[in-house]
Amino acid sequence: MKQFIVFLFFIQICNLHYAQQSKVLNAYVTKLNSVKDYSVNAKIVAAVPMIKIKEVNAIIYFKQKDKFKIETKGIAVLPKQGFLDLNKFLATPSKYMAIESAGKEISGVQTTMVTVIPIDESTDVILAKLWIDSKRNIIMTSQLTTKSSGMLTTTYAYADQIPFGLPSSLVFEIDVKKFKMPKSVAANIHQTNKSTNNNKDQKGKITVYLTGYKVNKGLSDSIFK
């Protein structure tokens, strides 16, 4: 039994060593880094329990290394760990270990699953799982677990920006935990029955449709101010 455990540990160490040089992830990161800047029109559709919001149009700006801005005319709801966090985390391979394994089939594409574990304990990310289409070097699904916000699953769809690895839509699935309404604020005269607030965790979904990418056009820094 002891021998078996030692064997498993050995295998694991070997795997980790191999994963740190994950070709699949490296190829993706290389592709990611080829995008110096972009702007894109976004349509944000949120279906989150206890939040009613109509679809919102926005313009998203990004510039290497970590400049990011969402310009909305009104109020938009997005996952707390949204667009940038995963890419920002992946952009520095020295800060994590990556383990490749066989992934599942997503939208008819066989993926490779890459499990990313941070080396630096100070980072907010606990674990990231990526299902990558190794042929096109694009993420099909990601699952990011952070200390502050729990788990966020993102499903990607692509159109004409595949060469840059930029998606045409993102579907964020979030855990909505026990929203508590302050009673004084939420007093409702027409609510004759007791509040039906669900205290159980529920799933929320935020879909962002991205169109009209303008990639590497040299965005000015002033946009991000």
Binding site: M50, I51, K52, I53, I70, A187
Partner: protein, 281 residues
């Protein structure tokens, strides 16, 4: 004709009374205080509202805008404005009895019903003026200071975010319904005023009734459940319903109906009382 002439008289009297301006000044000061507080520390208020969601979600865009400020002001002040209304309207009949002018008025060739109705009309106009002033300060001044934008409202069903383009009509209907609530307060105080011969009695009685009904309305006791829907105070927050999604039209219509019934009944009581009253003051 005599009715219009006396209504004009009533408005001159209201305009000349210093107490009529207390409401407008108090409203201005209260709104200025709220605007100042929100300008200085609005983010704390916002995080109080969004705290439950902030662990997993982030809100982008300008939440603290004029539309939200107007909503906050309305929510905070709708409880206190009845006092400002009653301060003027509670004095309309009893004040004349107190001053002795009622016998001068009632010995003129104008019917007592016309006297009472013109007082109700003047009271309604004053209440309208107060509501318009409230609307102007809370909506237009707040928008001028904070800018405009989508409106985030917290209801018992959760957060509702109304796009900017979908707000104006809600505020118009909201203010109209709030006006109907305040009109009920005005009508109640004038009705009580028909029974009294001093100024302070109807004002205090109006507030006492509002406080009593509000307490009954908020107590979670089944014995009051049957009367709660018929208390006008239950429907004083009906303006908020326009900010729900979907708008509960049936409930709003019910609130409007009950408020109108109150107004009609209170006017009828005042007419009956004032017509049968011997003027001995």
């Amino acid at each position: 004709m005599m009715f219009f002439k006396n209504t004009y008289n009533e408005f001159i009297k209201i305009a000349a009374k210093p107490r009529s301006y207390i409401g407008l000044i108090a409203l201005s000061v209260l709104i200025a205080v709220i605007i100042f507080a929100m300008k200085a520390d609005g983010s704390t208020y916002i995080s109080f509202v969004t705290a439950s969601f902030e662990q997993t979600l982030s809100f982008s865009g300008d939440i603290m805008n004029g539309n939200l400020i107007a909503f906050i002001i309305l929510q905070m002040l709708i409880v206190h404005i009845p006092l400002l209304v009653a301060l003027v309207t509670g004095d309309l009949i009893s004040g004349e009895a107190n001053m002795g002018t009622i016998r001068m008025l009632a010995s003129k060739p104008i019917s007592r019903s016309q006297i009472v109705l013109s007082k109700f009309t003047a009271g309604a106009l004053y209440t309208l003026l107060l509501t318009i002033w409230l609307g102007f300060l809370s909506l237009y001044v707040a928008r001028w200071i904070f800018g405009t934008g989508d409106l985030m409202v917290l209801t018992s069903d959760g957060l509702i975010i109304h796009p900017e383009s979908d707000i104006e009509w809600r505020y118009i209907y909201g203010f109209l319904t709030a006006y109907l609530s305040l009109l009920t307060v005005s009508t109640l105080s004038i009705c009580l005023s028909a029974f009294a011969e001093n100024s302070i009695g109807p004002i205090v009685s109006t507030m006492a009734i509002i406080i009593l009904f509000t307490i009954i309305g908020t107590m979670d006791v089944t014995v009051f459940d049957t009367i709660k829907p018929y208390l006008f105070t239950t429907h004083m927050a009906a303006w908020r319903s326009y900010f729900e999604d979907p708008v509960p039209w049936d409930a709003i219509n019910e609130s409007i109906r009950i408020l109108i019934y109150h107004n009609v009944i209170l006017v009828a009581i005042a007419l009956f009382q004032f017509n049968r009253k011997d003027i001995t003051s």
